[in-house]
Symmetry: C2
DNA sequence: TAGTACAGTGAACGTATGTTCACTGAAAGC
DNA sequence: GCTTTCAGTGAACATACGTTCACTGTACTA
């Protein structure tokens, strides 16, 4: 019976200031949605009640944090953006693998997708379907990601002869190819190492084609 | 009061044999779903009742044709496959545009997507999200499409030095890039010719990168 | 021509949904 | 210390849903 300072739901939930507590349950809703998506449900077919149930809240509590499901979706998109940024940072930190840079990056990516499968499932799923607002938000996030990737290429001296616009275009192509591969990876039946190897190999080769083309590109 | 041979619903529905009539209402259900998707609904968030309502049928009639919504979805995927085949046939029929072959093909594609927007909206939407069964069916259809495209390249003598496997891999990349572009095209606010031009230009350039890379590819 | 098969109906069911409302109790502000 | 604020509650609502069932009337079959 110690520490009963939390308002109502205290589950190892060592409260704090009011706004902190609010932020914490907001995060609980986000996590609940992600957990359900990880269960294979697809964000579009999630219901408000399902989410609050998973979060251990009354349905009405939802409205204290989001106007509707779309707004929750936008929060998920933002979290997806953060995830992508972290991916780049991690890749940067590890530096360029000495020999096979492309395959190395793909390995990092593969692990990353597997580790945060719910986030990638959400992005891959809502990128084409779902609501217009969410789709556009994802597009924006993708484009930011592509820009950041282009910056990294500049910093690394990769493809130095390309204009910024062209580099951006190429990174856009890389990003869509990545997200497409993510969708494939996530649908792999568990434990199918052979199938996974082929898939990854295909992915690597597609990227190789792109970079070959990029190296040969001449600004018209 | 002439011609009252149709069972119940006769709306310019000049019946025929029994199986023909059944096939016709089956098609009505498919069309209804497509119409609703065209209205911006997204297949995943369609309900059985919504579809039968749109088709002018009682809800229970649905079960005479499909076990559940997923089965209807698979029928839509098949129709998507037919659409893609038709696209290739049309591109073949028009032959290779004399000068700018790539931009020409993209123009054909752009028109095609606009003309059958509902089908492409469905494919682009369910490709990443939706149910596992539908996703896999779409993947199969995509891969068939890629194979057929590879065959066409072979017949045209494009990229003759590439192995079949490599050509297939590259066509796969082209297909995902196409479908991705379709999603973008369909989300364009109507009448934004400038924005559309940029989008198409970007699409053309991405394909150019791919083909440049393909031409430079050397089998390891 | 009598009998069967079966596409489509309409009513009924149980269940789940989104949203509202007055409420409670603890933290924050004075 | 008294008052205000507000995150979260629980009950209630109207609505929509998927699915079932016995049924009807027509096209086929023998």
């Amino acid at each position: 019976m110690t520490a009963k300072r939390t308002p109502t739901r205290a589950d190892g939930d060592v409260a704090g200031t009011r706004v902190e507590q609010k932020e914490r349950t907001r995060q609980r809703l986000i996590d609940a949605a992600l957990a359900l998506i990880g269960g294979g449900s697809g964000f579009t077919s999630l219901s408000l009640r399902e989410i609050t149930r998973q979060a251990g809240l009354a349905p009405a509590a939802f409205y204290r944090h989001f106007r509707d499901l779309d707004e929750l979706g936008l929060a998920l998109v933002e979290m997806g953006g953060v995830t992508l940024r972290r991916l780049l940072r991690e890749a940067r930190r590890d530096g360029i693998p000495p020999t096979d840079m492309l395959r190395g990056s793909v390995q990092i990516y593969r692990r990353f997708v597997a580790d945060r499968s719910e986030v990638f499932r959400f992005i891959a799923g809502e990128r084409g379907g779902g609501s217009r607002a969410i789709r556009n938000a994802i597009r924006t996030e993708e484009s930011h990601f592509a820009s950041e990737m282009a910056q990294d290429f500049r910093a690394l001296g990769t493809l130095p002869e390309l204009s910024s616009a062209t580099l951006q275009m190429i990174c856009g192509l890389v990003v869509t190819t990545m997200l497409n591969a993510a969708s494939d990876i996530l649908d792999l039946p568990a434990g199918q190492t052979q199938q996974e190897r082929e898939l990854i190999e295909n992915f690597v080769r597609q990227l190789r084609v792109i970079f070959l083309g990029a190296a040969r590109w001449r600004e018209s």
